[in-house]
């Protein structure tokens, strides 16, 4: 582990100094060299609750136990989602990302608007469309004997399905891909702010258009929603649509990249997957367990004690969800990919009232992608000399993935 000087940070007095550890999650050379191995190892190298100093977030309590993350995620009254997202917002347009930045019971009114669309039954009707898009993409590169997986499949597939679901035109696909990359991966505040403005202008116009001409897409559904007879405000509608854009695109991309890297490195497991078509749901769940891509940050709302560690109102706290999925108390022999594990709640999509509303769509996208890809390209490998590089950031996945077959 690289050590990090705590000097630039003010650590509150109630944080025991021995609990401040030089753990660097989502940054630091050791993490970036092999993020999943690093996060799995935290159970051997760290106490269950510790404090770390993150260049991005400052000081933050860190949870790695499955039960502790569940406790945090399932008590929104004690652990608030305010300031949960790092994206720049124009003070003149102070919208909230919805439903994430709302609390129960108000939160439920937003979820009720879209839950029918994102329920397992709701997303099931997209299965044929996802398969078709996956095959269209594969058609473009299968004859070439290789591809840059992220750019040619991992990114365009979820963006295309997102546009479909939202009721936005497919011609926007390249633009949306570019916006997602610029907003989430440019690491340049000016580019992020400019991109945010482009997205804002586009979505505001799309909302206005759906208000004039309703359809069955999600943007229109939100724009016309009136929970309890009260229509949403313009700011609520915008914050809701904007949040769906940010939440859905990068996470599925990173997940697909992670899973395809694992597939490329494990040819015998590809054969196993091909030979068990009826177990695909369990296979996807296990692959999601070991390839969770995000973390859950909260702000402590009431003084609280976890495993004897006292935290105070206003402290930042963060659950390392991928590490929680490697908790040996819940998943014995945790780094082993075992498609026959008894089903336990995984934390890839968090839990609690704010658990990912796109979880079932993401599962379906991974499942259909696996099935269609392995049917058409059962044998593939990492391109010779391909370097697997992880960049610091809030979503874990290799930056590029060059495959050959």
């Amino acid at each position: 582990m690289t050590t990090q000087s705590p000097e630039p940070f003010t650590v509150p007095d109630h944080v025991p100094r021995e609990l401040i550890l030089p753990v660097q999650v989502a940054e630091g050379d050791d993490f970036l060299a092999a993020p999943y191995a690093y996060m799995a190892r935290l159970h051997e190298t760290c106490p269950p609750v510790f404090y770390r100093l993150s260049p991005q977030m400052g000081g933050t309590w860190t949870l790695i136990k499955h039960a502790d993350a569940m406790f945090m995620l399932r008590h929104p009254e004690r652990f608030s989602t305010r300031n949960a997202t790092p994206f720049p917002r124009d003070p003149a347009n102070p919208f909230k990302f919805l439903p994430l930045e709302s609390d129960p019971p108000e939160h439920r009114k937003y979820r009720n608007i879209v839950d029918p669309v994102f329920s397992p039954q709701g997303v099931a009707r997209l299965e044929g469309r996802i398969a078709q898009r996956a095959n269209d993409l594969i058609d473009r590169f299968i004859g070439r004997g290789g591809c840059e997986f992220g750019a040619e499949f991992g990114r365009p597939l979820p963006v295309s399905i997102f546009l479909e679901l939202m009721g936005l035109p497919q011609e926007m696909i390249d633009t949306f891909v570019k916006w997602a990359v610029d907003l989430l991966h440019s690491n340049d505040r000016a580019v992020m702010a400019q991109t945010m403005k482009h997205i804002t202008d586009y979505l505001k116009e799309a909302i206005a258009q759906k208000q004039r001409t309703p359809d069955d897409g999600v943007v229109s559904r939100i724009a016309h929603a009136a929970p309890g007879g009260v229509p949403l405000t313009a700011q609520e509608i915008f914050g809701f649509v904007m949040f769906l854009f940010i939440a859905g695109l990068d996470t599925v991309f990173a997940t697909l990249n992670n899973v395809w890297l694992w597939l490329a490195r494990n040819p015998e497991r590809r054969q196993e997957i091909l030979s068990r078509p009826d177990d695909l749901n369990a296979i996807v769940e296990e692959l999601l367990r070991v390839h969770a891509v995000t973390f859950s940050g909260r702000t402590v709302e009431q003084d609280v004690e976890i495993r004897g560690v006292k935290m105070k109102k206003g402290d930042r706290i963060n659950a390392i969800l991928p590490a929680c999925n490697f908790d040996p108390e819940v998943f014995p022999d945790p780094t082993r990919v075992d498609f026959d594990r008894p089903r336990k709640p995984i934390l890839a999509f968090a839990q609690g009232v704010h658990s990912c509303m796109g979880a079932h769509l993401a599962r379906l996208e991974v499942k259909v992608s696996l099935r269609e890809w392995l049917r058409r390209i059962p044998q593939f490998a990492l391109a010779q000399g391909a370097r697997i590089v992880y960049r610091p950031g809030g979503v874990v996945g290799p930056e590029t993935l060059s495959l050959v077959w």
């Binding site: 329920s119 397992p120 089903r343 336990k344 709640p345 839990q351 609690g352 079932h360």
Partner: protein, 109 residues
């Protein structure tokens, strides 16, 4: 429309109309019945829509619909009994009109 009676742990009863084809978890969430959380939206990945089928209805409703439901029930917070079900896995039919389900004190720690 068929009706479901949700009996909260404190004995409060709520009678809710649930459309045929909809599930018993959604019937609670869309009508503000608090004893069901239904965090994952019906994907069998959270075990927070646990309920106990009233004994008058256990035969008609039946036990867990799948091995997956059986396994996920093991992660439920409240005590699991022979009448335990995940309410997201109970689809409303006309035959279930009048169904009574009892809710645990809480769905998570």
């Amino acid at each position: 429309m068929p009706k479901v009676t949700y009996v909260e742990h404190n004995g409060d009863r709520r009678v809710v109309e649930v459309p045929v084809g909809e599930n018993v978890m959604h019937g609670a969430l869309y009508n503000g019945v608090e004893g069901i959380s239904g965090e994952c939206g019906g994907g069998m990945s959270c075990a927070t829509c646990h309920c106990y089928i009233d004994e008058a209805w256990t035969a008609r409703v039946g036990g867990p619909a799948s091995q997956l439901e059986r396994e996920m029930l093991e992660s439920a917070y409240a005590k699991v009994k022979p009448s335990s079900r995940l309410s997201c896995q109970i689809e409303m039919t006309e035959a279930l009109d009048g169904l009574v389900v009892h809710l645990p004190e809480r769905q998570s720690a």
